[in-house]
Amino acid sequence: MNEIGLVFDSQGSALYWHLPEGRTATSLPDSRTLWEILWQHRAELGGFAHTHPWRGRPDPSMTDITTFEALELGLGRQLLWPIVTLDEINYFARREQHAHETTAPHGKVDYVSIDPPIRLSDSDIRRLRELSTT
């Protein structure tokens, strides 16, 4: 079991399957190669999906959230962040925090599960799960 990732475009179509050396069941290593792909495709980018290779509700970890935030700051645009477990998928997106709200774990922004404007195809979701378990 290993986490993997998928870069997809603004229509939800796969651009790049991310299966780096050093991935584990709970982490993907930082990758200059992945950054160059994200930067190269920034104009057409829809988001980045990754797996949590177990069953149950997909929720982002603190590392997930700080990465969402950093990448959106670097790329200058908001993205969609699907998290896929072996039996569920949730799509996360940035929600701006109002001054009186204090629920964001990292402070300024929060990422919430949404009904997404685009979705990954069933075949890509299936492949994410297959590649995470082989």
Binding site: L28, D30, S31, W35, W39, T63, L71, L73, G74, R77
Partner: protein, 86 residues
Amino acid sequence: MQQNQARLNITINGQNGDFPDPVAFALSDTEIKRIAAEAIRTGYVPGIDPVAADLAYFVVDRFSATREMPARLMLRPKTPFGEPQR
């Protein structure tokens, strides 16, 4: 540029630019991020609009000098889902 110096390249807000001055290659990531944050905030980096930015979750890629290129430090956001060095 002296042997122990590097060109600092910064990417933020979909923009990319070089810090105008050479910096010491041996600076820590924390020090590089401090310099970059101040430069970005004050509009000192050509090609990058001024903005107050928290670079805590950015990382520094380090490339030694080659015959053709000076040493380079490249500041970018971490990717899914690595952690920056402190």
